[in-house]
Subunit: 239 residues, 2 copies
């Protein structure tokens, strides 16, 4: 069966094999991307078990055989779609956080972007699936490494740019952010929590990651905070 | 079909209906508990999809009809077994942490106990399942509330007993602990990490939860720690 994308792809302008190869590669990339878009939408709505290969093919205006050609199995497509999705939301979160001028604003922007979508829940479902499918682990592993690495670089860049004072190294901050995002999302979705509630819970358990440098030279009595002080935004305020 | 447990339960010693009712209740509890034990073992080994009701019945020396009698569906049994399992490991972690004399020892004991078993991964799988099965959510909700509540009480008790200085309120500490346990476990299992690696990662992202009171009255220059200090155990050391 001929892939549908080839039918709509522009014909190479002449007989040059380089042009033909480029057009085929580009059409292949477009079809892959369209299949991933359709799959992400359906998987997030209905989960792995509730979505069939033919549903996805129909949503992407493709043939089921194209899904098996590009991704081999529904599970592999699920994991690849979820990994792509969480990397998109991570980039969107970094973009949103670029506007921040204080560490608290930075954390708020990240948390708000990440909890506003289903992407972390989708990714967590892919992680759970991968536990029983070690053949799909390498992609998940690379994705987690990219989340940690890019989060760390973005955070270190902001610290540098604004002269904030980090309370721990940016690598640990980034790892903690994503582990908490996954934990809070998995708990929250099981409990039917709203995006707002999950955002509030994430801010509550994250605590502050950095302080502005303005406090640098104050002297403070160590241990002067009350145990009963439950204001989470104050949890790690002082380095 | 007569439940197998009734066949082995002690006969009521006389015709007193209270005795008979008590014997039946007790036999029912024993059978429920045996089914949950067998189910936990198999589900942790093989996952939900890899385990059938008849496998569990065979493992518990019971009839498949007893599983549907006590739990209705395999999914409901999965969620109940996972909830029971994570509450057991939470209690074991608290017991292990009772020996701790410093906040760092306390956190180490909790993390070591929790990462040494498959229980958190099992519970995370139940949470993911519940997202698509809201009928199973109430049990999961009560379990999360118990994890948070009992964790908070145990931690507040240790703080009181040893005179430690908490860096945030015990409720936020307990919520953070469990969200991180779930996040680190889901990531770690997908990546094929060992229990030791997951324990190290959890300690790294948790940071310190409290300090001993010995530092209470020292004066310290606020902000005197270097950004490049990557020793995670030092991340939140000073209140």
């Amino acid at each position: 069966m001929a892939p549908k994308s080839v039918q709509t792809a522009p014909e190479p302008p002449d007989g040059d094999p380089k042009h033909a190869a480029r057009a085929t590669r580009s059409a292949g990339r477009q079809m892959r991307s369209r299949l991933l878009d359709g799959a992400s939408r359906l998987f997030k709505q209905r989960g792995l078990a509730g979505t069939s290969i033919s549903d996805i093919a129909a949503a992407a205006d493709a043939f089921p055989s194209q899904i098996t050609y590009y991704f081999r199995t529904k599970e592999a497509l699920f994991v690849e779609a979820a990994c792509r999705d969480v990397l998109y939301v991570a980039r969107a979160a970094e973009q949103a956080a670029l506007q921040a001028t204080t560490p608290a604003e930075y954390t708020h922007a990240l948390v708000e972007t990440v909890t506003a979508t289903d992407s972390v829940a989708f990714f967590a479902e892919a992680l759970t699936l991968t536990r029983r499918r070690p053949d799909l682990a390498p992609l998940v592993e690379r994705t987690i490494e990219r989340l940690h690495g890019e989060g760390m670089r973005a955070y270190a860049g902001q610290i540098e740019r604004h002269g904030w004072k980090s309370l721990r190294d940016p690598d640990a901050s980034s790892r903690r952010f994503w582990a908490l995002a996954i934990g809070v999302t998995v708990e929250g979705h099981a409990m039917g929590r709203s995006a707002e509630d999950m955002g509030a819970e994430m801010l509550r358990v994250l605590g502050d990651q950095a302080t502005t440098r303005t406090g640098d030279t104050r002297l403070r009595l160590v241990g002067d905070r009350d145990v009963s002080n439950s204001d989470s935004s104050d949890g790690e305020n002082s380095p």
